[in-house]
């Protein structure tokens, strides 16, 4: 049975709303969530493999830190520092990849900027910004990423959840959500259930589905999602009933909406093209963007002439 995604209307103070419908939930489900998040997505692995040795980066919303040990073929050639709002997930992220190596993780908010400006060479933000409940806050989060990386050579890769889910996704999306009558779809605020068995924090085959994806290079990888047998089954489950946690997501409507949170050229520090001071002109290029398996992504690169 597909995961039932239910539309919601964001209410209250967005900070309080996210505390209740995002932060508190990840604190609660951290070990189970982490056990289902272990395979890096190919575009992201490729991005991290393309970085020069000696670069330092930020993973904004690192979760269980699964990208911190990458690139696997050149371990230790770059350092990625993980930032997350969930202390319990960071407890897992610090040992991401297993073995003796430990990772650097920082407890913080993606809306903050606890760094020297431009200190990082690169940043990634994977499946994080869609947990922010207003457009303005999503935009600030992207701005913070841009401010964290070098204005001269910084690179960043951002992934968010798309309203267009692939055919392999087990989630069912109510049809009115794809309404794009005005041609300017603004995405959809939804709850996505996470089912936590009361019997065990470990994933059970019966409570999950798995899907196999092709990454275009012939190999396959899996990502698993907890599946709610019944979205109305929203109890804290004192008996054997699984507990269902409804996580808030903003499903992005189209790549364009991700472009909107990246901002206008003015906001991106691009100077006027007729400026006589052509030297030291800085800007940001979009290297690639697109939809991949239920997500929109964008890769940017900063430059200075």
């Amino acid at each position: 049975m597909p995961t039932a995604v239910t539309p919601v209307i964001v209410s209250d103070n967005p900070q309080i709303y996210e505390d209740a419908h995002v932060h508190a939930i990840y604190e609660e489900i951290a070990p189970h969530f982490s056990s289902t998040r272990y395979k890096p997505w190919p575009v992201i692995a490729q991005f991290l493999s393309s970085l020069p040795t000696g670069w330092i980066g930020l993973d904004s919303g690192t979760g269980n830190g699964k990208y911190l040990p990458l690139p696997l073929e050149r371990p230790g050639s770059v350092w990625t520092i993980g930032l997350d709002r969930s202390r319990n997930l960071l407890g897992i992220a610090r040992n991401a990849g297993g073995g003796e190596a430990s990772r650097e993780v920082v407890w913080g908010d993606v809306l903050g900027l606890p760094w020297r400006r431009g200190a990082f060479d690169y940043a990634i933000s994977i499946a994080t910004i869609h947990h922010l409940s207003t457009h303005a806050r999503r935009k600030v989060a992207v701005q913070r990423i841009i401010e964290s990386i070098s204005p001269v050579h910084g690179r960043a890769l951002i992934y968010v959840w798309a309203i267009e889910q692939d055919e392999l996704s087990k989630r069912s999306i109510p049809s009115e959500q794809s309404d794009e009558l005005n041609g300017q779809s603004k995405g959809q605020d939804v709850f996505v259930p996470w089912v936590l068995s009361q019997m065990s924090s470990k994933p059970k085959p019966s409570a999950k589905s798995s899907r196999t994806r092709s990454n275009g290079s012939g190999s396959t990888y899996q990502e698993e999602e907890a599946v709610s047998p019944s979205p109305e089954d929203n109890t804290t489950g004192t008996s054997e009933k699984p507990a269902v946690f409804n996580r808030y997501y903003h499903m992005f409507a189209q790549a364009n909406e991700l472009g909107l949170v990246i901002g206008s050229p003015h906001e991106l520090r691009v100077e006027s093209p007729d400026s006589k001071h052509i030297r030291n002109m800085t800007g940001i290029d979009i290297v690639q963007d697109g939809w991949e398996r239920s997500n929109y992504y964008v890769e940017i690169r900063c430059w200075r002439k």
């Binding site: 040795t53 230790g76 770059v78 606890p114 760094w115 020297r116």
Partner: protein, 123 residues
């Protein structure tokens, strides 16, 4: 973990605190030394990214005075080993980091720094 590789990046971001907010000063800290894999290629590439004065000051606060006041021109193995130790093998497990400008205190617990701000402190 707060190792000096991370400390060299962290800055205070409390409301209105935009200058002299780096480097944060360690306070009441406990450290642990743990070996990490030596990767000279990473270090050579990383050196230009380091705020060197902040690194040597922080290392001194942690009791390590092995680094020169300026990075040497010759990056020999002996120097790289020392740099590796300072950046990646000294773990600050408990204590705090204090902003030199506004005095904001960022606690470190179980090796994880808490850089969260209360809502009224967010700039």
């Amino acid at each position: 973990m707060v190792r000096l590789i991370t400390h060299n990046l962290l800055a205070c971001h409390a409301k209105g605190c935009t200058s002299n907010n780096f480097p944060l000063q360690f306070k009441d800290i406990q450290i642990e030394l743990r070996e990490a894999e030596f990767n000279p290629d990473f270090l050579r590439g990383f050196i230009p990214r380091i705020e060197w004065g902040a690194l040597t000051d922080a290392a001194r606060q942690l009791g390590d005075t092995s680094l020169p006041s300026e990075p040497p021109d010759m990056l020999d193995d002996d120097f790289l080993q020392k740099l590796h130790h300072v950046l990646l093998e000294i773990h600050v497990e408990e204590g705090a980091m204090v902003c030199p400008n506004c005095g904001h205190v960022y606690p470190i617990s179980n090796g994880i720094p808490n850089m969260l701000l209360a809502e009224h402190e967010i700039g």
